[in-house]
């Protein structure tokens, strides 16, 4: 994918950073929510995984990099998609820490690389898939909360059974919810649209501008098809 420069001010991240410390906290929260698990899994499958425990490495990475105010400015200048930038930043952190560890323990004889079998797929492809799943998890939590807060908990439950569980309406709605399949199809309309809205919101936070939103969603669908 071609590099694309995202002027910091026009991205969600840029707008939040411009708000000051509170905005920066919101950015950190977004990044840690979305990438905490994917980065651990990614690192577990990486050839440098012998350099540390994935959870400790990612915790250390976030503690160090999120404290740097220029971290996201550097991302903006890089022109990279945020998830690719996070991978690069993580690996840079790991190498930096490994170098520090060697110097501290005077273990200069230890190699930079060890022959550890990496995951079969390319690291970028793995991260792409992990990112989609992490986005889905965040989106589902947001949409469910929004539905339940407005008294649409049953609507969400029907949606979850049908769309997430893959169960056809006729097989459960009458028995479990005492509604007809036709009525159930109407009931899931709002949860579906809340999921859509949450998805667009999370992608915007992740650096996708509204004009590229449809392309991004198609790209995510393609990633899922290739899985």
């Amino acid at each position: 994918m071609a590099k694309q420069h995202f002027p910091l001010t026009v991205t969600w991240i840029g707008r939040r950073i411009a708000e000051g410390p509170e905005g920066l906290d919101a950015v950190r929260q977004h990044v840690m929510t979305l990438y905490y698990e994917p980065l651990q899994i990614y690192f577990r499958g990486h050839s440098e995984r012998w350099k540390g425990d994935p959870t400790e490495v990612v915790n250390g990475f976030f503690a160090d990099r999120m404290a740097r105010t220029d971290f996201f400015e550097k991302w903006s200048v890089s022109g990279l998609r945020l998830h690719r930038w996070m991978i690069g930043a993580l690996l840079f952190f790991v190498r930096e820490e490994w170098g520090r560890e060697k110097r501290f323990r005077r273990l200069d004889y230890l190699p930079e690389d060890m022959d550890v079998e990496a995951a079969e797929d390319s690291p970028a492809a793995i991260m792409d898939r992990l990112r989609v799943r992490s986005i889905a998890k965040v989106v589902l939590a947001m949409a469910e909360k929004s539905c339940r807060d407005e008294g649409l908990g049953v609507h969400w439950d029907v949606f979850a059974r049908h769309v997430i569980g893959g169960i056809p309406y006729p097989k459960f709605v009458q028995e479990e919810f005492d509604v007809s399949p036709e009525r159930a199809a109407v009931m899931v309309r709002v949860p579906k649209k809340r999921v859509g809205r949450a998805l667009r919101e999370v992608l915007e936070r992740d650096g996708v501008d509204e004009f590229r939103m449809a392309d991004e969603i198609r790209a995510l669908q393609e990633i899922m098809r290739e899985q």
């Binding site: 698990e37 994917p38 651990q40 899994i41 577990r44 499958g45 995951a119 079969e120 797929d121 793995i126 992990l130 989609v132 799943r133 992490s134 889905a136 998890k137 989106v139 589902l140 407005e150 008294g151 649409l152 049953v154 609507h155 769309v163 997430i164 569980g165 893959g166 509604v179 007809s180 036709e182 009525r183 199809a185 109407v186 009931m187 309309r189 709002v190 579906k192 649209k193 809340r194 999921v195 859509g196 809205r197 998805l199 667009r200 939103m213 449809a214 969603i217 995510l220 669908q221 899922m224 098809r225 899985q227």
Partner: protein, 151 residues
Amino acid sequence: MPNNDELTNLPKAAMTELLACALEGEESPFDRLAARLTRQDGSQWLQAQWSIEMFEGLNAEDWPAEAPSKEDIAELKKRSKRAIRDDDAEQQLAGTLGYVIANVMSLANYGEKISNLDAETLATQLRDFVEVLEAPWGDCVAAAVKVLSSS
């Protein structure tokens, strides 16, 4: 590839469906009304609406049995549009209900479309209420949709 239950327990088909939700379009006032009516207290909510100011003096509750005049329908539509523009979400819901009823009654009784929406869009929006509005309203909505479909 390492596994992680938190992230990998969603089936691929579910993931594809979730992503497709983003292409569903924005939530409309009709969607919100249908959701309100299908809540467990939807029937009570509908009953309570007949006594709010927007329906005052119109006897709209009886319209399925006694066809309203065109003037009453026009009056309800005017009041509904005012309520839809209100900042209060409950007023907006009531306004959307009034708008649906005014349109349905005009179509079902006089065969006249009073909405600015095109026939296909209006039919799509109203179709949900065949299932959602309790009898005898559901039949009225079905009759209105039939008029739109044949126009």
